[in-house]
């Protein structure tokens, strides 16, 4: 299959055309707002195309390791974490398509959510480790939307 130019490069060309040739010709404020939205969506798609499968794979490994720690912690919420972890492992597919990885990632996220709930009240190092996973996820999410994101608003 064709991989050069990359998906991100192709999207960048579309964004430039919209910004430099289409947008100046638009006078309707509602259509102009739509164009701004389209540009933001395209910008996020370019980053996702480059990174999302790799980021999800890395994050799942980290969640599985921390999930095991919480499951073994003896905290009141630990059994719920162990259940989610078992479900994640049992359901994990061998395929590498985006759809399969996204499905696995969703199951891993349930493990992470239960880790949050299990460690929230207890505090301590384990809570910090779990919160660190949230911070890591947030860093990737922020990379996707880009710096300085602001909502397109009423004019």
């Amino acid at each position: 299959m064709i991989t050069r130019p990359t998906t991100a490069q192709l999207i960048d060309v579309v964004r430039r055309e919209l910004a430099e040739r289409v947008a100046p010709a638009v006078s309707d404020p509602q259509v102009a707002t739509s164009l701004q939205m389209v540009d933001q969506i395209l910008a996020t798609l370019a980053v996702r195309a480059e990174h999302e499968v790799g980021w999800m794979t890395e994050e799942m490994a980290a969640i599985e390791a921390v999930g095991q720690q919480v499951a073994d912690s003896g905290l009141p919420g630990a059994p719920a974490v162990a259940d989610a972890l078992a479900a994640f492992r049992a359901g994990r597919g061998a395929g590498r398509s985006t759809a399969e990885i996204t499905g696995d990632y969703n199951a891993a996220t349930e493990v992470l959510s239960r880790c949050v709930e299990a460690t929230f009240a207890a505090g301590g190092d384990l809570r910090d480790i779990v919160t660190g996973l949230l911070d890591q996820r947030l860093a990737h999410e922020t990379d996707v939307i880009g710096p300085g994101f602001q909502l397109v608003g009423r004019q």
Binding site: D28, P29, Q30, A32, T33, S34, M37, V38, Q40, I41, T44, N106, T109, E110, L112, S113, V116, E117, F120, A121, L134, D135, R137, L138, E141, T142, V144, I145, F149, Q150, L151, V152, G153, R154, Q155
Partner: protein, 343 residues
């Protein structure tokens, strides 16, 4: 139904609507869409009568499936016509309502505010003007929150403050359960809200979506509050909190300029005690308040994921998710540190 997005088709319908509301000799011209907002269609238009020319705004339901949320125009009309009669709230007067028999879809007509949005005005203002606007904003919020409950009989009150706040926290959890994918940030927020509740406050009329984009400045420099579709009886701090929450997306943050001074001014007018309304309790509500708007946002995104909607707005608002996650993480950490410092 004829497409209401065509302004030339709207003019005769608006004429008919105004005639039914006591303007027998009226000509409607200059119908123009007003951009912005994520739910209703909004148009400005001119109405010429023997008395003269006036500008109005039409807020009308979008076509089915073309909006992230659905709210009730009749309920909005009943609230706004009641508030118009009291004159106690700075807002454009409500003039006419249509159940859809004239316009094709339910809508209402209000006075047009000839002036800028507070947010846009504040963004262009210098520091001194922003501080003045912040004081005026505190007074405007206080005016909304001191409306007598008897003026808004159509709004049902929650049984208690605990029911109100617990209901909102439960809504955060439900939001996550209903979404198209798991979201650990929503679960984190629900845990945090449950363990950091502030002291209760008396329930009042609240706007429900109070932010500087929903406040206009009229020709006399007075603030006029618009877009009341989410008004309800609740904790008044939810309006202050939401205002500060939205300012993170669309600065400047007028409350954040001097949060202690802002809350003190608000307390002076409303009589609320400082331990109830202060920067920390407003901060709590800035997070709690997000459930309705974030729910609408996530609802649209989830519907798109299920293939049930194809709205550009929903696709665009996927970018608002990480921004909001960041606000929650930063906000809860800062509030926890400030609460800890006070212990």
């Amino acid at each position: 139904m004829t497409d209401l997005t065509d302004p030339t088709d709207l003019a005769p319908r608006l004429q008919e609507l105004l005639r039914r509301h006591g303007e027998p000799e009226v000509e409607v011209t200059d119908v123009r869409p007003i951009s912005g907002g994520y739910s209703l269609l909004t148009y400005g238009f001119s109405a010429t009568t023997p008395v003269g020319l006036r500008r109005y705004v039409l807020r009308v339901d979008p076509p089915t499936g073309a909006s992230l949320t659905h709210t009730d125009r009749r309920a909005e009309w009943e609230l706004l016509s009641g508030l118009t009669a009291t004159g106690a709230v700075p807002m454009p007067a409500a003039r006419a309502f249509d159940d859809g028999s004239v316009l094709g879809r339910p809508g209402l007509v209000l006075d047009f505010v000839d002036g800028p949005q507070l947010g846009a005005h504040a963004a262009a203002a210098d520091g001194e003007e922003r501080r003045r606007l912040a004081g005026q904003l505190a007074e405007t919020l206080a005016a909304v929150h001191t409306v007598a409950p008897s003026a808004v009989p159509g709004l049902a009150a929650p049984p208690s403050w605990d029911d109100y706040v617990n209901g909102l926290i439960a809504a955060w959890r439900q939001l996550e359960a209903d979404h198209a994918e798991r979201n650990p940030f929503l679960r984190y927020v629900a845990c945090w809200l449950e363990t950091h509740k502030p002291p209760p406050a008396p329930l009042t009329l609240v706007h429900g979506e109070f932010q500087t984009g929903n406040v206009m400045i009229d020709a006399k420099g007075q603030m006029q509050v618009i877009d009341w579709e989410y008004a309800h009886i609740g904790d008044p701090r939810i309006d202050l909190g939401w205002c500060q929450n939205v300012a993170a997306f669309a600065p400047p943050d007028l409350i954040g300029l001097d949060p202690v001074g802002f809350c003190a001014r608000y307390c002076d007018i409303t009589g609320a005690p400082a331990e109830v309304v202060n920067p920390l309790t407003v901060g709590y509500f800035s997070i709690l308040a997000g459930v309705k708007a974030f729910g609408a946002l996530l609802g649209g995104i989830a519907a798109m994921a299920r293939g049930e909607n194809h709205l550009l707005t929903s696709a665009y608002l996927v970018s608002a998710e990480p921004f909001t996650h960041n606000l929650w993480m930063q906000g809860t950490r800062q509030l926890e540190a400030a609460m800890e410092a006070l212990r």
